[in-house]
Structure formats: C-alpha cells, structure tokens
C-alpha cells in the first residue's frame, strides 16, 4: 500500500491549468464523418514532440482463454506512446478480449485465463508483483456504454478514481483542480461547469461517455483503452468523441477497439487487424487501409466480408 501511495503522490507533481491545455479542436478539419473516405492519417500531429516513438505497452505471445476457448492467439504487438492504435476486425475476432488483457480486466470474467505477457514501459503487468488493481490505476479504460456512477454527482464521478488513493491522493482542492483539468481535456468542462453537483445520469449519452473519459484521465493513466466508445452514441456525439481521441494522442498512448473501419481510419495512427483471435496485420493506418500486405486484411478493409 505504501509503495503505491508514494507513487501516487509522485503522480501529482503538476497541476496543469486550463491555459496549458491544448484548446479543444473546434475547427472542422477533422471532418464530419464522410461515408467511406479514408482521411489522411496524421503522421505529424500538431504539437507532437520530436522524440522517437517508443512502445508504452506491448504484448508478448499473448493468449487469452474463456474456459477452454482461446479467444486471443499468440498476439505480439506494440502500442507506441503518443499515438492512437486502432484494433479492428469482425465481431467475435477477439479484439475486445485483447484490449481487456491490457489492463487485466479479462480476468474478472469467471473462467478467464491469460498466457504470455503484457509489459507497460518494460515492466510486466502480470508478473513481478504487479497487482490487477495497481495495473488498472495506470491503464485507464472506457467501455462501450457510458458507465457513470448513478449515485454520484458529475464532480464526484470524475474524482472517484482519486478518492481511492486515500492519504496518498490529492487534497480536496487539488482534486477540484484535477476535475476541472480532466473535464477540460474531455471537452466537457464548458457544458457541465455549472452542473457539477447534479447527478451524472442527468447528462446526455454523449456527455456521459466524455464524463467517463474524464474520469479515466483524472488518475493520470499512462495508457487509455477505449472499447468501442461510440457504439451506443449518435453520430454527433460520435464525432465529438473522435475529435477528443484525436486530441488525446498528444499526451498519452491510446488503444481503441472499433468495429467501424471509418472510425479507425479517422482517429488512429496505427491499426491492428484481428481475425479469429489472431493478429493478422499491424501497420500504419494509411498503409493498412490502402496497401495491406495480407490478403485477409485486404478482403476485410475492402468490405468483402465482416
């Protein structure tokens, strides 16, 4: 407990003010979701530092099981820092399971099992004394449906991940700063700053999902995992979330699972294609969509199945 508290303290050195935050993109150059067109992937995002990209998160011969069923087969893949990696594939291909192995949520399902390893900045998240709880505090996750805690206000929802840090966590006033900071990053601050004490379930679906992103960001995770975050949202909310994901890549590694190829093309730098539990191909998004090296990838991205 102590070790983790000390680390938690170390995680709060900076209180970023709103001015330091990158302005939420309001310009329309992210495109209002055209039908099929593949946007130019963004090799150089605005403000991206020039340091070499290195993998934050990596899987090594990862196998995931539900009982006897192997849902992920021998997956080895790297998720670079400050990039958005999309995982695509048909329903049941194991993409969500792969994602849930990355922060040890997979093991919360009865009968689930994992082989192989996942490393965060070179340290195993499964071995060497890592606990699922500690891993999840460093690797945030947002689900398909918005999951605001219904008994908490908007503010308390965002602060809920901080509260569990106990004495090592921020004070109340620090927490208020982090709440504002996180809501701003999630592009929600202006909409809810006067409703912080209201119930979180009074927000619209799209707002709830951005609230969940803010909640995940509040604990300053090193990686953010998004499991089909727009699957239950209307097109307008979807666009807002996509723009948000695009912004997040300036600061953090993002992995997004989506069944929507257009979405992957719009928001990601790299794309991984999965089929039948296997990773078929991982490449720069533009390459994967325009010049895939595997025929199965080509069949999928050109819409011949899936």
């Amino acid at each position: 407990m102590r070790v983790e508290d000390a680390e938690a303290e170390a995680a709060w050195p900076r209180k970023a003010t709103a001015e330091e935050m990158p302005e939420p993109r309001k310009d329309a150059d992210t495109q209002p979701a055209p039908a099929v067109s593949i946007r130019e992937p963004v090799p150089e995002a605005p403000g991206q530092p020039e340091q070499p990209v290195h993998p934050r998160l990596a899987t090594h011969r990862l196998n995931a099981y539900f009982g006897e069923v192997r849902a992920v087969r021998n997956a080895t893949v790297e998720f670079p820092d400050r990039q958005v990696t999309a995982v695509i594939g048909p329903s049941g291909c194991g993409k969500s399971t792969l994602l849930r192995c990355l922060n040890r949520m997979h093991e919360t399902v009865p009968g689930a099992g994992v082989e192989g390893d996942v490393t965060l900045d070179g340290s195993s998240i499964y071995r060497g004394g890592s606990s699922a709880i500690g891993v999840r505090r460093n690797i945030g996750m947002v689900f398909q449906r918005p999951t605001p805690f219904p008994t908490m206000s908007v503010r308390d929802n965002v602060a809920s991940g901080l509260r569990i840090l106990g004495r090592g966590g921020p004070s109340r006033s620090e927490a208020d700063g982090i709440v504002e900071d996180s809501l701003t990053r999630a592009g929600l601050w202006d909409e809810v700053k006067d409703r912080l004490r209201e119930s979180a379930i009074a927000l619209s679906g799209g707002q709830q999902q951005r609230l969940c992103i803010a909640r995940a960001l509040a604990t300053k995770p090193r990686v953010l995992l998004l499991d089909e975050p727009t699957a239950s949202l209307d097109p307008l909310s979807t666009q807002t979330i996509e723009e948000l994901v695009y912004e997040l890549r300036t600061a953090i590694a993002v992995v997004i699972v989506t069944h929507n190829m257009q979405q992957a093309a719009r928001v990601s730098d790299r794309t991984a294609f999965m089929l039948g539990g296997e990773l078929i191909e991982v490449a720069a998004t533009k390459t994967l969509f325009t010049n895939p090296s595997d025929s199965r990838t080509e069949a999928y991205v050109t819409g011949r199945f899936g």
Partner: protein, 328 residues
C-alpha cells in the same frame, strides 16, 4: 500537461522501475472482505444448525422417555404426567387443511385476476391490498377474530351450515357451537396465508412466456381456455409450490390460532369443537409449565413442528425454484 507521461519518469536512481512499483497494490482489503461476507453467509446455515440443536436438546428428555409414542399417544394430561402429541398434531393438520381448502381457490382467482385479467388501473391497488394482508400482525388477526369472527361463527355461520345447508347430521358439523373452534382457526388461517399463496402464484404466472399465451389465442381459444390450457399447466408445479408454502405458514402460525381455537387437547370429528394445534399448545401452556417434563414435552412438540415445517418448506421451495429458474 503534455509532459504528464514523459519518459523521464521512467528512470530511477535505485534502478527499480517506478512503473513496476506503481503497479503493486495491497489486496488485504479484498481478503478481509471475502472472509467477512463468507462468514455472514455462513451464519445462515449455522443459525439453522443452532436452532435444530437447541430444540433437540430441549426436547430430548420428553422424547427419550416417550419415544415414538409421543406423536401417536392421544392423552395430553399434564396433572397425570401424560404427554401425547396426537391431538395437537391432528388439530394442526385439520386447521391447516381448512385453511388450504378456503384459501387456495381464492388465491388462485386473485392471482389470475391480477396477472391476466385486471385492467391496469386495478392491478396496483388490488395487489397492494392483498399484499397488505401479509403485513397485519398475527395478534391483530387474533383480536379481530375474538370480537368479530367468533360471534359470526356462532351466528349466522353455524346455523347456516347446519340448518340451511342441512349438514347438522354429519359428524363434521355436529356438537355444540361455542364459536371458538377448529373452524374459526381455519378461517383466520385462510385469510392469513392467502397473500403468501397469491404472491408466489402471481410470480409464477408472470413467468409463463408470452409465446405460450399467444399460441393458444392464435388457435382460437377463448380467454379462459388460454388461461386453463396454456398458462396454468405451465405454472402448475410453481402454483403447487406456493400452496405448500402457504401450508408451511398455516402449520406454524401461532397467535391468531391460539386466540381462536379454544385450546382443548381432544380429537373431535366436529369442526365446531375446540382443539389445539402444535403451536398453540406450546404458546398456551408454556407460561404455566412448572415441571421440567412438561416443559420438555412442549419443546418436543416444537421439535415435531420444526421438522414438519422444514420438510414442507424444502419441498415448496424446490417446486417454485423449478418453475422460476427458467424465466430468470
């Protein structure tokens, strides 16, 4: 802000990666939580075990003396030191049987009404009133029984059954009619178990799939035929479970019965005669039991009641569970 996840944090003078340290967390809380909730859950079987042991211990002197004849002997004479539980067992069975005969058709009717027939605006209030019957304390039923039901039993119920229906010659309705009687106890029990049977039956009827009903209607069945041929057979074992659950209640109901049954340890064919049930025997004589053997005999009656209700409830729960598990 943008440096929140800068790689500079990954180096550490001691060579221990802060990432690895950050991913450690104590799980003591989870272990304590698991042990605590398991202990609370274990309290339920433990409590049942303690109940069985305590009643067994209290009943042992009387049971070991009388053996199996305790439940077959029909003499309950405290002064003579004779303790035969047969009259109380007989009274329990008869009063519960009366209750079931009266309550079952009513409860079935109400449940069908509430789940299949009633217009929406009637469902809530009628359902609420029927449920409310279960909230009335037993002693209030007893009070009402003494001052309202008993006079009614003397007149007009008694004369109606004997003269108007001409049942006076049958042994079941012969003998003097004091009001305090097996019949009065049965009637009050019927009112008391009605909400229990109806609650279970309603739940079971609602578990019948819609397709079952629609199939019957599509075949040209009338509304009643649909209920009779499609709904009730599907829910049958659950309904039986509900009735047996009501039986379990009736067998052990104490206060209202004690106040209305007349409390006399005799086996009489007449429903107008006073009697005893196991529960009312214990409740009525406990305060005046001075000898150890009398006390133990009362506890032995309690032990019989415990075993009987245990079995009845286990059967009922199993039947209800069989029907409703499919719907969950």
């Amino acid at each position: 802000m943008t440096d929140a996840a800068a790689p500079t944090r990954e180096t550490d003078p001691l060579g221990v990666s802060p990432v690895a340290a950050a991913m450690k967390a104590s799980l003591h809380g989870d272990r304590i939580y698991h042990v605590l909730t398991t202990a609370f859950a274990a309290a339920v079987p433990l409590l049942l075990l303690l109940i069985a042991i305590s009643i067994g211990l209290a009943a042992w002197p009387a049971l070991s003396l009388a053996g199996l004849s305790f439940i077959t002997a029909s003499e309950w004479d405290v002064a003579a030191g004779q303790f035969g539980a047969a009259p109380a067992i007989y009274g329990t069975l008869v009063s519960s049987a009366i209750a079931l005969v009266l309550a079952t058709p009513l409860a079935l009717g109400v449940s069908i009404f509430l789940s299949e027939i009633a217009p929406k605006w009637l469902r809530q209030p009628v359902g609420f009133l029927v449920d409310l019957l279960a909230a009335i304390p037993s002693v209030v039923y007893g009070l009402w029984g003494i001052f309202v039901l008993i006079p009614l039993m003397r007149d007009p119920v008694g004369p109606f059954l004997r003269e108007t229906l001409g049942l006076a010659k049958t042994p079941m309705f012969s003998g003097p009619n004091y009001g305090y009687s097996m019949l009065a106890a049965g009637v009050i029990l019927a009112i008391m178990i009605l909400p229990f049977i109806s609650a279970v039956t309603r739940e079971v009827l609602l578990a019948v799939p819609r397709s079952q009903r629609e199939a019957a209607l599509a075949l040209g069945a009338t509304r009643w035929e649909m209920i009779r041929d499609a709904v009730l057979p599907f829910a049958r074992s659950g309904i039986i479970g509900g009735i047996i659950l009501g039986l379990g209640r009736a067998l052990g109901e104490t206060m209202a019965v004690t106040m209305l049954i007349g409390n006399r340890p005799e086996i009489s064919a007449s429903l107008f005669a006073p009697g005893y049930t196991m529960a009312s025997l214990i409740a009525n004589e406990f305060s005046e039991a001075t000898s150890d053997m009398h006390l133990s005999a009362l506890m032995a009656v309690g032990a019989v009641l415990f075993v009987v209700t245990l079995i009845v409830n286990a059967i009922a729960r199993w039947l209800v569970w069989r029907v409703t598990k499919g719907a969950r």
